[in-house]
Symmetry: C2
Subunit: 373 residues, 2 copies
């Protein structure tokens, strides 16, 4: 690859780029096309940034930060109006065309074979014929999302929702309005635009939006500057905080602590900022307590009944090779999963996937046997 | 010090002892008498083991392990009967006489000036005149315990409860029955003996005991082999798990994650082992949720009202020097605390202590100001 050019586009020196190659830059030769990826952020280059062998560069999607106390955060962060979009709960992909082929990049900068097949099914090639440098930043959601399976969205399989657009070889994204224009123009689904408010009233409006989304089991909102001058921020519903906690404690020895603290602290600040009544706080406490205890009890009783503690998801693929490739992709991503034999159906194959959560499985058995914690 | 003799008593080689001196053995020249302490366990020598300059050796008190599923643990661990004692919630000290002076050692092997003054007040010197090698292992509890202040015990200041006895220069402890005999003989308080049961019925008996203790806000039980052939194990009430969680979340950015997971997992296993009804589980969930949320909310609202997030405790000392020494001891133990000016009272001085929890204090302020998590 042409180091000088790549360094210049990334906005770092050539020698720095060379230095990073021994440390945080990783090569990925599979699936085609070959690429190098930034495993971590470095010198202002986002994690997940990718350089393809043909020279195309795709910047990583910037991490969206989260305030816990919304009103003052909006006051500090935004200058005028605040655009509100739904934050969807799936996995973040960047879809683009490289040397004439559509690919889907994961957050970390891998080509995900399954996401790629889904993208090829859902994103008309015409988009990239007309805009060869376009990078579609979106969320893949639905019950057939093998990373985060959710039933709450209007799909019984998996769907793609655009939430931003970028360009190859250029930092930054196009922002709310251009994103929705483009989605409309090419008939793509986009994350719901929930309104635009002056910042002094935004927090109160958003509280009602988040409460409504929570009742629907949806995740929350992303707040964007309509002029795209400052970075977006995110804010989530109690329902999603608690359902994440429930997942964490269902697999308490694998995931619980990872994200537990931040989520309960969100609950505390939300309750204070919203000046909840004693009763509302009692309900919130009940919700938190149940998401912790009930999911953990389910796991312990399951194990006591002799079942294994696993995560199940079912996906559909058009092409058997996609399933084989995806199995390999999960393995390289450090996810232990067993794939059932494919079952042919009208449009391809249905495949059950069992994700193993060994630590919780083994620990629960040991504790049930009377071992010490 | 006579390395050969010390090594021989500790049960390690002289060269190993020399090696440890550069790594995990620390010297403590203050307060008198000088000593060396094992900061961590090494070669089978318990953490907190102390060698005084006069050659006296005091072994660290062994860590007591905890099962989460009680019945099978008892079945595996014990041979015949199980003796049940109350586990008290304070700080663990070893009281002994060195060169004619009574001192109290913390778990880590420091001489604690405050605990030492309390021990000198509560433990008759006669005990050590009659048994110069005696080491009294006990719990200091009460509202004036500056480490763990608890109101639930029958003292309005601080008291000492014996739970085991050991001897200088000898590993191991004497066990339940000798401990209670000695306490009786010298009029010392001992942790309550709650019965002795055959192991097949012990778990059920203990369930009732733990439920009763929980209703009284007490911590739980330590299970011991009456013959002192196997190590003790411990088991705690839901009430104490939740009150610990509440403290953790009151200072969520300083303590929460440290011990959160283990405590909620205990709740899950206890609920399953006790085959609780839906209703009982709902109440347990509420209890857990409230201990998390309400204490956190209290902190956030306190901070929003402009108060600092601190821990307050009041102690009484006979001697002003004890207070000055204790202030230094807390600092060397890594605890940041401010001491009020002493207020003379009938038996000495009352001193208010403010323990600072900076991380929670600062983090809460920042989040209230709208900073991101």
């Amino acid at each position: 690859m042409n180091l000088a050019r790549v360094a210049q586009i990334l906005g770092i020196t050539e020698s720095r780029l060379q230095g990073l190659q021994e440390t945080i830059i990783r090569e990925s030769a599979w699936p085609e096309p070959r690429l190098i990826r930034f495993e971590k952020e470095a010198s202002g280059v986002e994690a997940g940034t990718v350089v393809f062998e043909n020279g195309d560069i795709v910047f990583g999607y910037p991490k969206i930060r989260r305030p816990l106390f919304l009103a003052p955060a909006i006051e500090r962060h935004f200058s005028g109006a605040v655009a509100v979009e739904e934050k969807m709960n799936g996995h973040n992909v960047r879809v683009l065309s490289v040397s004439g082929e559509t690919v889907a990049l994961t957050r970390g900068g891998f080509i995900c074979p399954y996401s790629t097949e889904v993208a090829r099914r859902l994103v008309p090639e015409e988009i990239f014929e007309k805009n060869p440098n376009l990078v579609l930043c979106g969320e893949m959601v639905g019950p057939e999302n093998p990373y985060v399976a959710k039933e709450v969205y209007p799909t019984d399989s998996i769907d793609f929702y655009l939430f931003d657009v970028a360009e190859k070889n250029r930092k930054g994204t196009a922002g709310v309005h251009k994103t929705h224009e483009l989605a409309e123009q090419f008939g793509l689904k986009a994350t719901a635009f929930l309104g635009q408010f002056q910042k002094d009233i935004a927090a109160e409006k958003i509280r009602h939006i988040v409460l409504r989304l929570g009742r629907q089991g949806r995740e929350g909102v992303v707040l964007k500057d309509p002029e795209n001058q400052v970075s977006p921020i995110k804010y989530t519903s109690s329902a999603t905080n608690c359902s994440d906690i429930a997942v964490g404690f269902k697999y308490y020895n694998d995931y619980a602590t990872d994200f537990f603290l931040s989520r309960v602290v969100r609950e505390g600040f939300q309750s204070v900022e919203w000046n909840e009544s004693e009763e509302e706080r009692g309900e919130r406490a009940q919700r938190i307590g149940e998401s912790i205890l009930f999911s953990m009890i389910e796991t312990i009783e399951k194990k006591r009944a002799g079942e294994n503690i696993v995560q199940r998801v079912i996906i559909h693929v058009r092409n058997l090779q996609t399933a084989r490739d995806f199995e390999y992709h999960l393995r390289r991503s450090g996810i232990r999963a067993l794939f059932d034999p494919p079952m042919p159906d009208d449009e391809g194959y249905q495949i059950g996937i069992t994700k193993l959560v060994m630590s919780t499985n083994d620990k629960t058995q040991a504790l049930l046997d009377g071992e010490m914690w």
